[in-house]
């Protein structure tokens, strides 16, 4: 082998070509569309024709004047904050229980984790069998308990459907939060507990002063993960209500889908996409910084 060439192969910088394929993917499929999306949001465009018209900030003005948009933002927050709250509180409770010396705990963990394997669109359909108006499992149960109760149309009004969707999403992905908490709990050295007992701490005060602070890294991970997952929720909503009736149970993501494919309003849809991106980035960054600070304090 040529000596100069051999030398080149030994210098570290030559290796940098190894990440070029990955960079190409990012540039073409993430960065370029992102920039393009900002441009599209300034256009009036139906999504497929060659003609489009520059309208400046009109799409954003329309968005902030659109009452449907506020409904979807509100729903998106319920999906995001609701799922995060439930998954963490219940997930931690499950983890505390299933970390005890109990027979059959591995089986219960397996069962709780099982829905993670299932596509959330299928999960949505399975729960649709429960909340269906006509012959749905929940209405049957109500009728069984008291025969003369009128069946409830669970998914017809947003008061209920938004929370039902949050519940379905929570139940499906609770297993991940639980497993992360179990891993966190097992990482806490027994010495801390012994020290706490010697100091006379008991029950809840041990949990509050020993377990919770030491679990903070797991809490951060779970909160960030769940808030992003909840704010971008799409599949379950499509399966259970398609965002309807109207936009009453829509999140920003399903409304965007409707606007793009049904209303053929690509500029508006792109503006919503950008809004959603900003919203998720700002919220998750803010939360991350806040929780990291908490981790240090505790």
């Amino acid at each position: 082998m040529n000596n100069a060439f051999a030398k080149k192969l030994k210098s570290p910088s030559v290796l940098n070509i190894m990440y070029i394929p990955a960079l190409i993917f990012f540039v073409v499929f993430i960065f370029y569309p992102f920039v393009k999306g900002v441009r599209i949001s300034f256009l009036e465009w139906n999504g497929y024709s060659q003609n489009s018209r520059w309208v400046g900030l009109d799409n954003y003005k329309r968005m902030f004047a659109d009452p449907d948009f506020y409904t979807t933002v509100k729903n998106t927050f319920i999906y995001g904050v609701g799922s995060t709250l439930f998954q963490n509180v219940i997930g931690l409770a499950f983890a505390l229980l299933l970390d005890q010396k109990l027979k059959g705990k591995v089986f219960v963990r397996t069962v709780v984790y099982l829905p993670v394997m299932i596509s959330s669109i299928i999960m949505g359909y399975i729960w649709y069998f429960f909340f269906k108006y006509d012959g749905g499992a929940v209405n049957d149960l109500i009728r069984f308990i008291s025969a003369d109760t009128e069946p409830i149309d669970w998914l017809a009004s947003s008061d209920r459907s938004v929370w039902i969707i949050t519940f379905v999403n929570t139940l499906q992905y609770l297993g991940i939060a639980m497993m992360i908490y179990i891993a966190g709990l097992q990482g806490i050295s027994k010495d801390y507990y012994e020290a706490a007992y010697i100091d006379g701490a008991k029950g809840f005060s041990v949990f509050k002063n020993v377990t919770l602070p030491l679990l903070m890294p797991s809490i951060t991970v779970n909160i960030i993960l769940n808030i992003i997952g909840g704010l971008k929720l799409f599949d379950v909503i499509m399966a259970m209500t398609s965002g309807g009736p109207g936009y009453s149970s829509s999140s920003i993501s399903t409304m965007m889908y409707q606007i793009y494919f049904v209303r053929m309003d690509a500029g508006y849809a792109a503006a919503m996409g950008n809004f959603m991106f900003m919203m998720i980035t700002v919220i998750s960054m803010f939360l991350l910084l806040y929780l990291r600070k908490k981790e240090v304090e505790l």
Binding site: A6, L9, K10, P12, V14, L15, N16, Y19, A22, L23, F26, F29, I30, P33, F34, K36, I40, G47, L97, L98, L102, V108, V111, Y113, L114, V116, M117, I118, S119, S120, I121, M123, Y125, I126, F129, F130, G135, G136, A137, D140, L141, F144, A183, V221, L231, K232, F234, D235, M238, A239, S253, M256, Y260, A266, A270, G273, M276, F277, I280, S284
Partner: protein, 269 residues
């Protein structure tokens, strides 16, 4: 006393998690003419729903599509991300740190937010309803996490391995190929499961990019099937059961790998 309470709670949790599957099985095995409550088990196991679902939701085609797409995405992601992670883990120059930060920042971009321009890009280049048109965006969005996991793992391997090989006259590339690559098996298993489950279960990309029935994946096929036959709820249930069978079966046999794969991807994000 305390233990009894714990066992009762465990029992209730199990019931809550298994009831949906109980209902699903009941509905899937009842003929459409049987209008008894979903809570009542079927009198005999009727298999007609499965044939109807299999044919009408075009599930055989959908399974093939799912296998092709998932396999290609997983294979390409593993190759590209393991290569990319090596220089990023070993040579932390200023440039490489910037590249690494760019990769990581892609993890938080929800694909939905840029779907409008991405869709336009796919229409203009590969076209919708093609394998390439769904595989390429999937790869792009699965790469960041894979690079992240590989970089973390390679950083934890001793540098002396590389140095010893370098002294023995190995080129930088053959160090990666001969020394590092064979050591990556455990993290590769994690990434295969993480990416595989994500892609297999994907609905968001598939519903945008695959619009020809012959290209439907299981999730899109089932959702089209559902909107077409929403009155034939037993068929839909049978379709759902068929659709979820492959991954749940795999999960039952390789539980610890699946939990590790999906949770590791989550924890380190």
């Amino acid at each position: 006393m305390k233990k009894t309470f714990m066992y009762i709670t465990m029992f209730i949790i199990t019931i809550i998690y298994l009831v949906p599957f109980y209902i699903l099985l009941n509905v899937a095995f009842k003929p459409t003419t049987d209008t008894s409550s979903f809570w009542v088990p079927p009198r005999q196991f009727y298999l007609g729903n499965f044939t109807n679902a299999w044919i009408n939701a075009k599930l055989s085609r959908a399974f093939i599509n799912n296998i092709i797409i998932t396999f290609c995405v997983v294979a390409v992601v593993i190759i590209i991300s393991s290569c990319a992670a090596y220089p990023l883990a070993r040579y932390r120059t200023k440039l490489n740190n910037i590249v690494y930060m760019l990769c990581i920042s892609c993890i938080v971009v929800p694909p939905l937010t840029i779907l409008v321009p991405l869709y336009k890009l796919i229409v203009d280049t590969t076209g919708t309803s093609t394998y390439l048109g769904i595989i390429l965006p999937h790869i792009a969005f699965q790469l960041p996490m894979a690079i992240f996991l590989y970089t973390g793992f390679i950083s934890s391997l001793s540098r002396e391995l590389d140095e010893a090989a370098l002294i023995d006259g190995c080129s930088r590339f053959s160090i990666f190929y001969r020394i590092i690559l064979p050591l990556l098996k455990p993290v590769t298993a994690t990434i295969v499961i993480f990416v595989g489950v994500n892609v297999w279960n994907d609905y968001t990309f598939s519903v945008f990019f695959l619009q020809k029935p012959s290209m439907y994946t299981i999730t899109v096929g089932l959702s089209q099937f559902f909107s077409q036959f929403s009155n034939e709820i037993n068929w839909v249930a049978a379709g759902c059961l068929l659709g979820m069978l492959p991954l749940t079966t795999l999960y039952m046999f390789m539980q610890q790998y699946f939990v590790k794969g999906l949770t590791a991807g989550a924890v380190k994000g």
